[in-house]
Symmetry: C2
């Protein structure tokens, strides 16, 4: 089986470029693929708020309601704002594009880097969280957290290498199951609350003043923790071109659907957590969501279905990143802000480099942090909110510049969103700095610097390569050097080849002793192939040093106007393992010559029969 056919078996047949349209996503596929990240956050958003408030005391729990209202408002602002992004930038790219066009390239890079970091963290966090759900169910699997996480990660790499459309099929079902379960849960719970039925024990009140012991700082911290429920929203705006036509309209609709789902589920779960008077479990054994479910339905079959759906969507949230990261890096690569190959589509039209890079980076995170979700969470969300802020500010500038109809209203919405998300960034950076946010604060400028260097390099190369169409082709002459190891068939055919190209051919032989040198010279004279032989005696047992020295001498003699070519013969073996028996140094010599000298290195194959 060849490596080609193995690849085909694993990934499917290569797709034509024209098949890209068929690979594009209808809305029903786009929603699960692009929003499992955002949806999964509601599984723990309420819990994050309650845990933060619990540090002051259970009396503070009633403040979860105004905080949830603020977050739902934030979601609304972001959804409206990102629908405006889709309108303005139908080619995708989201915050990167908006920042680049309106704030300048450096800010675009910053937005891009922030998002790329966050995508990577999302994979590690959500896979860790999903694996934890499994290990809670099966404690015997605890020692295998990292291996299980790696298997999930590379399963996603594999599915995504097969192409977006197919991975959508696999990932759609669990996402819809989760949405369905959550809507049933919120519906049943709210019905109970309004009718006073079931386990509802508590009055849901909105506090009016700040009680003693509760500070604005704690409230802001709880708010920013709850904002984790908002991460992942931007994925849709990055992926507009991947929607089936009319792509802009479909993307905006998907965005709206997602916003409503987020608001209903997150808001509903938060209200229910108050109605059932749920106190978060600081040991993390029972999640707030599971306690709400238990109070609403009891510990029956539906309880376990919800548990399963939650685990599934947590793992699938990683898939949103597997879509977002490759698309964003391909857009950045087109702008020369990432290595060029990130914009190449593979056989299956997927951006293989981005997918595999994300797999490697998140595997490193999984291994380094040993799959502990709580260690990764503080690193997470800064990047997303930084990119939110830049997208919003960028749009404000755009509206102000364009001054189209109703620009003040649009600018106000975006300005508000930009202000709020910027506050979240600041609060997050300060409150979570020691818990790990400092890593992001350090890595972001480093990556920004690297990306700037990459971009500069490509600019320099473009300058060096530029050619005027009127520039004449220079005429050069060539000297061919043929290193020989004796007199045999390969030398014969290489010399014949060289003589056909130019009369300036020199054979070069390294002898390890003077006797050896003399013998070779005599044999050469007898053979008389019409090519001069230069013999050098070397006291070391290597070809490369004398060859480099000899090239230097030839260069010196002919000056720079003659181009030097070195012919290196290479055995092409019939069976793969025969390769191990030949040519161990040819590869090294080739690389060294190309790097050290301005010579053309030609590989002349000699196909062995057996």
């Amino acid at each position: 089986m060849t490596s080609q056919s193995i690849k085909r078996l694993l990934l499917g047949r290569p797709l034509k470029t024209s098949e890209a349209e068929a690979e594009k996503m209808p809305m029903w596929k786009a929603l699960p693929i692009l929003s499992s990240d955002a949806l999964s956050s509601v599984a723990y958003g309420t819990e994050m708020i309650l845990l933060e408030l619990a540090t002051v005391g259970a009396f503070a729990f009633s403040f979860s309601i105004p905080i949830a209202i603020a977050i739902v408002l934030l979601i609304a602002i972001l959804i409206i704002s990102y629908r405006q992004v889709i309108d303005a930038y139908p080619q995708g790219g989201g915050a990167y594009m908006v920042a680049k066009e309106n704030l300048g390239m450096m800010w675009g890079r910053l937005a891009g880097v922030s998002l790329l970091i966050d995508y990577t963290l999302t994979v590690a966090v959500s896979i860790s969280a999903g694996v934890l759900a499994i290990t809670s169910a099966f404690p015997s699997s605890v020692p295998y957290v990292v291996p299980i996480g790696l298997i999930f990660t590379w399963f996603m790499v594999w599915m995504n290498l097969r192409g977006t459309s197919e991975s959508g099929n696999v990932f759609a079902l669990p996402t819809y199951l989760f949405i369905f379960c959550m809507l049933i849960l919120v519906g049943k719970g709210l019905f109970d609350w309004l009718t006073g039925a079931g386990h509802v024990t508590h009055q849901v009140t909105v506090p009016t003043g700040l009680p003693a012991g509760l500070t604005w700082f704690v409230l802001l911290k709880a708010f920013s923790s709850g904002c984790s429920a908002v991460t992942g929203i931007e994925a849709i705006s990055n992926a507009v071109p991947h929607f089936r036509n009319p792509s802009q309209k479909n993307a905006k609709r998907t965005m709206l659907t997602l916003g409503i789902l987020l608001a209903v589920i997150f808001g509903g779960v938060t209200v229910l957590s108050r109605a059932y008077d749920i106190h978060p479990d600081p040991t993390g054994t029972k999640s707030v969501l599971s306690m709400v479910t238990e109070d609403a339905f009891g510990r029956g079959g539906f309880f376990y279905i919800i548990q399963f759906a939650t685990m599934a969507i947590l793992v699938l949230a990683a898939n949103t990143s597997f879509n977002g990261f490759p698309i964003l890096s391909s857009i950045m690569a087109q702008d020369k802000n990432m290595p060029r190959m990130f914009s190449n589509r593979g056989d299956r039209l997927a951006f293989n480099y981005g997918i595999i890079t994300l797999g490697i980076l998140s595997s490193i995170l999984l291994i380094t942090f040993r799959g502990r979700t709580e260690a990764l969470i503080p690193l997470y969300a800064i990047g997303v909110f930084l990119s939110f802020t830049m997208a919003q500010i960028g749009l404000v500038l755009k509206w102000r510049r364009e001054k189209s109809a109703g620009w003040q209203r649009k600018a106000f919405i975006n300005g508000l969103g930009g202000f709020v998300t910027f506050c979240v960034v600041i609060i997050f950076s300060i409150t979570k700095f020691e818990e790990g946010a400092w890593i992001v604060v350090v890595i972001t400028p480093l990556l920004l610097w690297l990306i700037t260097k990459i971009s500069k390099h490509y600019d320099n190369v473009a300058k060096q390569l530029k050619v005027e169409l009127t520039e004449p082709i220079p005429t050069t002459e060539t000297v061919i050097i043929v290193p020989v190891a004796g007199i045999h068939k390969v030398v014969l055919s290489t010399i014949a080849y060289a003589k056909a190209l130019t009369p300036n051919v020199v054979a070069f032989y390294v002898a390890f002793s003077p006797e050896d040198a003399k013998k070779m010279e005599e044999k050469w004279e007898q053979w008389n192939p019409g090519v001069r032989l230069v013999v050098v005696v070397s006291r070391y047992r290597t070809l490369i040093k004398p060859l480099v020295e000899f090239i230097g001498r030839v260069e010196h003699r002919y000056g720079k106007d003659k181009k030097l070519t070195v012919l290196l013969p290479q055995f092409i073996t019939h069976k793969w393992w025969h390769r191990l028996l030949h040519n161990q140094s040819a590869f090294r010599i080739r690389a060294l010559l190309l790097n050290r000298k301005d010579v053309v290195v030609s590989t002349v194959p000699f196909h062995l029969n057996d």
Copy 2:
């Protein structure tokens, strides 16, 4: 820091071929380097005999004396025989050479393979044993048996890559310490025994008849177990050319010294074990040698010095193999019985391939058997005794053929040795088969088959390469194909280079859409470099497939008498990491073209400034 200077720091400056003489070993260095394996065996030889006899009962211990006498006689026969090997084969190679010249190539290969397997096992066994000595002293290190073993292994790889002479300096001291300690121990013990002083409690008697319960089979098994004390003797005969001149005389002297040391130490320890009436500890916590030492000197400082020296020589025994394996494989490679590179000397004149191969193979053994000495021991010694047998039989045939003075005496000694060692092989294979000897019985013929294939391949290649000095150089013509990705400096210089070599130049462009194709054709016409451009539209996003197809078309058109050359431009970057930003596919295209087609692939470097 370049990789060159790192290499220099680790391994030292490169040595000239003429410095090989200075790298050769004087006797005082050769003894520790080449005989630590054999010497270390006496640390456990007596114990192996007693453990085997203990399976019947303590009454059988008195039979250790006649068994030890038999083994000392065997040592004498082997030493005499191998001194004859040195005389007959001063170029080294030992059993391999003797068997090859007198029994034929296949038997030579068998002897060579057996020895190579045994060298590998020796490294694994003696390093495991040495590490066990450490872990017995520091029980907390038990979980790190394999990592410690690997560190020792690769320390030896490193020392040996630096060259024989320097590694001799490091390894000489512990070996001499061990010899010194053993001679003191045996001297003190025998003095006590003869004068009846110290802890001597027991009469040492030689039994005259076979008591009930003891069978000849058990005695033979004990004898073959004790024969482990004999392994390693052959190393000196393989390494004759590595001795300082007069190398033959020095090697023979070293052989004699080793024989006397082995006989005295092994015989002495066995006699003392009887005199002190020592019973082996079946749990392996206390070695027989340590019990003898304790009875002779008490548990004082000298006791611990001997323990340390024992541990050191067990680890160093591996070094004998690090000398033997590379030398033997280089000799076999010269006969085309091993891949060619095993005969290349590295910068420091060491046979790097052999040293590193041995390091890898023994690391695999260490990891697979998790460093358990007792699991490896039954695999060990078959190979050595098989090679002994073949060397002896080979010499018998040689003496019979040459019929020089006193040939009958020489042939009798070798014949006796051959018979005895062959018996050991048979007994060993049968009695240890289930304990692991079967692995060797399976692997040896497999390796023999592989080596025969390698040898056949080299013969075939030599036949294919053979050229008569009268053969004329054929005249060929060349067509050059220049794949282009656009119009820029690299294309300009590549086309200029191609035009200088031949008028038959075709540029080749893969367009990903018909519009792209048209645009390129128009631009090319405007530029007009005097070279025809062929444009192909591909619906896949790869260069390689259309290029291979195009080459096929050109081949078809010109027939086989024109040689095709493909010019591939390659960016040579200034900084190493810039390389990651270019040329990801050039390497793959080059390899594919060379393997699939009979074309010359030329790499035209374009050196980027930044």
